[in-house]
Symmetry: C2
Subunit: 323 residues, 2 copies
């Protein structure tokens, strides 16, 4: 099991590398929901999402021999950029397998950060098989997007910061709301949060057609999403929870909420109008759950993670004009 | 003259009211420009711009008799929202004279914050005359948007924070770049900045057709912009510098830069793509000057104020898709 001290050690490794994103408050948001909301805008993180936390934490611990062979990863885009940026900082060659319908900005940024991008068909190809073949042929180390303890520990530093920053503000969150794709961010954050404050609830949020973690929690074993599942949240389209991440989330999370594409779009419009932040669909699900009243936040202190902001201008524009 | 201690006193009045906006860094921005840029995102400020700093600082010092009569102000939108929000917090009735072509979001937000909005024609009516008539008829106190020392002192708290926050990061800015409309923000910030660090240069930035402060500095006396002047920056369309603000800026600023609408649009696209912040045209001029190489930032520490983020979704979308 991952302990608080593992996440603290990851935070020490990341200290000079990542942005300590601020914990933002909005009196207008608080007035609307009737509670105190603390926003963790990981869209302001280096590479535009939290993903560099885990990628760098794993890759900086590779041996020189491993580093010399490079790394390979698969990702819809945010992990891709995190891995590419970490590779650039550490001098490690990175190859990223990305779906051909990933947001153009994510593909372009991954290349700009020095990553070699291999595209695949999200609905017909097996990205894992492609990545494993590259790893076998080149000797590259696979950097998983969530099912790896060093990745989970790195992502958990966001949760550690939430607790440290809220303590500096003189409050302890009653609950923390976090998006859930493969479950790495939520598992890492939940570990840090509940070790520091056992009374703080952690809630996960999934797109309604990608509710694999919700159904897995209900059935007690990991289930898969339908191949036909669709969501505006490209960052959260995982097939099934990770074994390790699910074990942690099952133990530490108080519940799983789901949101529709329209609720996500409404949250993105709210963030544009009132918070002046650019949040991508997958990055907006936690706030969407709050605004759509999927959880009671009245008279509580609730921390909400805005996990990323890598969205194409065209999609962003069409969502903003869709109100 | 306004002294540092006046701005410190304003900061104490504003402590529980405003957001201490963070000083953000972006390794990607730094890499592109070859220097260290510290961004002060006042778009994240309550009401979406710095304007509540000055409005609240003035209005909280009104006598109960004055407060009972309410206040009146004219504004293209950001000062309007600052005054309306301050009025809501202090229980003071606010009437705001706004141009009928102001961004819809600014008009709607001013009303939502409790302000009574009176619209006028920007190119034919005299907003000052309309506001003075309201003041005469109702006994309301006029809250100027810049030509008033309590307003300047309030806006200066943003500059004070820049110096405090950069000091906490272990650096002192070599230069600070600030937008200039009427000159209240720049005059207040320059006062704080240069009192704390006399070696730090302050540069002002204007839209190219609204270069009244630049030409006033060159000629040594306050000049007006042409009635025909146009700019995408609705927040910076002032006719002429204030007498008090010009005297301060003339003494403390090292120079004035100008930017075109296209340079502003490019900065807004950069901010969307790389910084994940929503900045309005007037809020982007200081960064536009940096990105368009109007000033040398290589190998220096440069603080840049992003002064506001109140932009309509339609304009924002068309700028983003205009690359």
């Amino acid at each position: 099991m991952i302990e608080l001290q593992d996440i603290q050690a990851a935070a020490a490794r990341l200290k000079e590398i990542i942005v300590e994103t601020p914990l933002l408050v909005s009196s207008e948001l608080d007035r609307i929901v009737g509670g105190q909301i603390l926003l963790k805008p990981e869209c302001l993180q280096r590479t535009g999402s939290f993903k560099i936390r885990g990628a760098y934490n794993m890759m900086c611990q590779m041996t020189p021999e491993q580093a010399a062979c490079g790394v390979v990863a698969w990702s819809s885009g945010n992990h891709a950029q995190g891995v590419a940026a970490a590779g650039g900082l550490l001098g490690i060659k990175t190859t990223i397998v990305m779906p051909e319908d990933a947001p153009k900005a994510k593909i372009a940024n991954t290349r700009r950060l020095g990553g070699e991008v291999v595209l695949y068909d999200r609905y017909n190809d097996d990205r894992e098989a492609i990545a494993r073949r590259i790893a076998t042929e080149s000797g590259a180390v696979l950097v998983p997007s969530y099912e790896e303890r060093k990745i989970i520990e790195g992502q958990g530093t966001a949760g550690l910061e939430i607790m440290q920053q809220s303590a500096a503000m003189g409050v302890t969150p009653d609950q923390v709301i976090i998006c859930c794709g493969g479950g790495g961010l939520s598992a890492g954050c939940a570990t840090a949060i509940r070790a520091i404050s056992p009374r703080t609830d952690v809630y996960l949020v999934e797109p309604v057609e990608f509710d694999d973690t919700l159904r897995s929690m209900q059935s007690g074993e990991r289930v898969r999403n339908a191949r036909s599942a669709r969501s505006i949240c490209d960052a959260l389209q995982t097939e099934t929870p990770g074994k390790m991440t699910f074990a942690i989330n099952q133990k530490l999370a108080s519940g799983v909420l789901t949101v529709t594409d329209e609720e996500v779009a409404e949250a993105m419009r709210f963030v544009f109008r009132h918070l002046k932040l650019v949040v991508e669909p997958g990055g907006a699900v936690a706030l969407a759950a709050v605004l759509a009243k999927k959880i009671v936040v009245k008279d509580t202190v609730t921390a909400v993670v805005l996990s990323g902001g890598n969205v194409d201008a065209e999609l962003f524009g069409s969502i903003q004009s869709g109100a």
